[in-house]
Symmetry: C2
Subunit: 149 residues, 2 copies
DNA sequence: TTTACTGCAAAGGGTTTGCATGAGG
DNA sequence: CCTCATGCAAACCCTTTGCAGTAAA
């Protein structure tokens, strides 16, 4: 999403646009790693050294209400998702990385349609996480099993 | 799951079995509402008035490591899932209720198989949440729109 | 000019930890 | 008997709140 589109989307929701908000929005939207509040903080601090976490939390709430991002609660803290299209997240239980995958996108779409059609539940959005070991951590795990310390 | 099976499952993991742990395990496993720590606390307090939240947190960790339950992080606090089979949760954004649905179970199974087969990600378990309005809250919302205060 | 956002500090609340006592195997 | 769970209290940390100054529209 371009800055202009971003500004438009925010104004649609009657939200005041500030440089800080744009920076935070871009830190989330121009990333695919589902950053945490701390990570967003670190990415934005270069341009806005005086910004505090309170502003980040406030802005993330605004962005979520405007329909631009989604909060993804995790055990220790939340991460933020910029890809609102139905898709699958792969969550590594070892390193904690979260990546989107194109695999199964169609299946999630069909699943959403099924739920919408066959249940009396009015679907707004969905979160599909597969937890396990990413390629790298699985390899490290495998080698540890073959030659334990 | 019966108490006997429960005891066996815990002992398999080298876990010491206590009356408190059995009570907590049953409070989660004999429920379908994905209780929070507070709810588990309230359900167990009748039988163990002196039990504290620390014991509940500790036991839930043990149960999760033993593969009996899964933690489901939510914005304010975690809930606990006893249905580890692939399925879809319906999460009401209004009343906060979380219910399992049978709809789409096959689709989630196939999705899991697809990810396992086509990616180099080693799947352990999955969380599939559809967020939106349950039947009751959708109806209340509808009537509010037709006759606003 | 009016509204509401930012930054700062303090408070809030779910979760974790340390330790003495007590119970399981 | 030895190990580890329980209960209690305090600590932790993520997140929220209140307020004065300031920027957006």
């Amino acid at each position: 999403m371009t800055q202009q589109e971003l500004v438009a989307r925010l104004r649609e929701g009657g939200v005041r646009v500030t440089p800080q908000r744009l920076a935070i929005a871009e830190a989330v939207l121009n990333s695919t790693d589902h950053p945490s509040v701390q990570q967003i903080y670190e990415r934005v601090r270069d341009h806005f050294p005086s910004m505090t976490l309170a502003t980040i939390y406030s802005t993330l709430g605004v962005l979520e209400k405007s329909g631009l991002i989604q909060e993804l609660p995790f055990p220790k803290s939340s991460r933020y998702e910029s890809n609102l299209e139905p898709h699958v997240n792969l969550v590594c239980v070892q390193c904690g990385n979260v990546v989107d995958t194109d695999l199964g996108r169609e299946a999630v779409l069909r699943l959403k349609a099924l739920i919408s059609r066959e249940s009396n539940f009015s679907v707004a959005w969905q979160r599909v996480d597969f937890h396990g070991w990413c390629h790298r951590c699985a390899a490290a795990r495998e080698s540890r099993q073959h030659s334990p310390a």
